[in-house]
């Protein structure tokens, strides 16, 4: 049974790494590095020189971009395999545990859809809506995996949240945080998509100016960000002042969440005031996905304490 928990944690880490690599493909604009799918320039291993590229693809070949995109696909394939193994381990050890089986099978089905969506992305030459959906599905997969993994942890550590007692209001704060983080991620991808669209039409204008052209979207993103700091602060306060014996896991995740949201605001504003730097954009998206994971940790801990 321990195998499942350990392997699922490993799978979660790998999924987060894949989200990072996917973001890297996006910020380095290498999404069309391979113009076909699942093969890359009609080969299973991408070409390293132009003479290996079929004639009809020659205008689209760039060795660096092809290999960046190929690494993403390779990572995706390995992670997909790991999720499949996680699913197998769940069936083997936890067939009767609905709270493990349902999310793991859900994650497995979504992984298949996610792979297919990767192909659609290439077919539609990176349609912005499909890009957002691709990210949202990845987030949903990681959320389901975290939930299932923690459920197996609590099965194994029965005493983990036994002495803890959290007020009911905590649940609503966690729900609100999760929902707003999700909205923020969607607005964020829209800002990025909008930025790209304006940049295509105004290739000579610099990044900061373009960001200012997005106006209301950007302000809403910042306001909700500041609102999130408040929510994270209250969650931490509820845990420390109003809760009885809060577990180290939930306290730690609340501290980390508050810290990460503050870092997010600094990163986000630095994109506006300095320049739209790809590396900062990448971390901005990735940390948002980590915050969502922390919400799931808090919710599961709260739910377990209620059941106890």
């Amino acid at each position: 049974m321990k195998y499942f928990f350990r392997f699922s944690v490993f799978t979660i880490l790998m999924t987060y790494l894949l989200i990072f690599v996917g973001g890297l493909v996006r910020v380095s604009d290498a999404g069309m590095g391979c113009p076909d799918w699942p093969k890359c320039f009609d080969r299973w291993i991408p070409p390293t020189s132009l003479d290996q590229v079929p004639l009809e693809f020659q205008d689209q070949f760039n060795v660096v971009l092809a290999w960046i995109e190929y690494c993403n696909r390779l990572f995706g394939a390995v992670t997909g395999l790991m999720i499949t193994i996680t699913c197998y381990l769940a069936i083997r050890y936890y067939r009767k545990e609905i709270k493990i089986m349902v999310p793991v099978i859900g994650a497995f089905i979504l992984t298949i859809i996610e792979g297919w969506l990767g192909g659609v992305l290439v077919d539609t030459v990176l349609n912005p809506f499909t890009i957002t959906l691709h990210l949202l599905l990845a987030l949903l997969i990681v959320v389901l995996l975290i939930y299932a993994s923690l459920q197996s942890y609590y099965l194994y550590h029965k005493s983990a949240e036994v002495e803890s007692d959290y007020p009911n209001s905590l649940k609503w704060f966690i729900y609100a945080t999760g929902l707003i983080v999700l909205i923020e991620i969607i607005i964020g991808t829209e800002i990025r998509g909008g930025l790209e669209m304006i940049r295509n039409q105004n290739p000579l204008v610099n990044g900061i100016f373009l960001l200012r052209m997005l106006g209301p979207f950007k302000y809403m993103h910042t306001i909700l960000g500041i609102f999130l700091v408040g929510l994270a602060y209250f969650i931490r306060k509820i845990l420390i002042i109003e809760s009885l014996n809060p577990s180290r896991l939930i306290i730690g995740s609340a501290q980390a969440m508050l810290g990460m949201i503050i870092v997010q605001i600094i990163l986000g504003e630095s994109l506006v005031f300095f320049d739209v730097k790809p590396l900062i954009q990448l971390y901005h998206m990735w940390i948002a996905s980590l915050i969502l994971g922390l919400c799931v940790i808090q919710y599961t801990a709260w739910e377990t304490s209620r059941l106890n």
Binding site: V27, S28, N62, G252, L282
Partner: protein
Amino acid sequence: MKKIHTVYIAGLFILILGIGATWVIKKADQAHQTPPPIIKSVPDFQFKTHDGYTFTMENLRNKITVLDFMFTSCTGPCPIMASNMSRLYEQYRSIPDVQFVSVTVDPDTDTEDVLAAYADANGVNDDRWIFIRSDIKSVKELSRDGFMLFSDDLPAGHSVKFVLIDDKGRIRQYYDGTDKASIAILQAHLNLFLKNLDS
């Protein structure tokens, strides 16, 4: 103690990821900033535009040009090419340094009037998209010798390529005028040339 260790390891891991990502972004940026090589210069030619002016090699200088070969009564790939060219024409509306040139490969049918009506139908209302014509022999020469495109069976067998020509009248790259992925790369290259033109 264990908690501090975890924090350190996580921090180190994030740092290593950042260093790796920086390297990849830099490499990708270099790849994006590398303009396509010079293939050859466009030879001298003298054609007529759809509004009656003379159009020569000199008109390709000091502008970035996207050029294709087409004919107005074509029902094959031409409508897709025209629609893609039209989209580019709209997207670069605010940039007079970019021009679009369509050469008819059926000059007998495509008179100046026919070309003018076709331009109108495609929403052309300024001089950034020009339709040009000449006698079939000159067209064939320009297509085959000037642009090294398949030209044995004109008009039906014309090429579907979009050709990117730099501000010195040199051919830089060919793109598939019917394929969105290929046109996305054309746009990236076009933007790159524009930036260089500006600086």
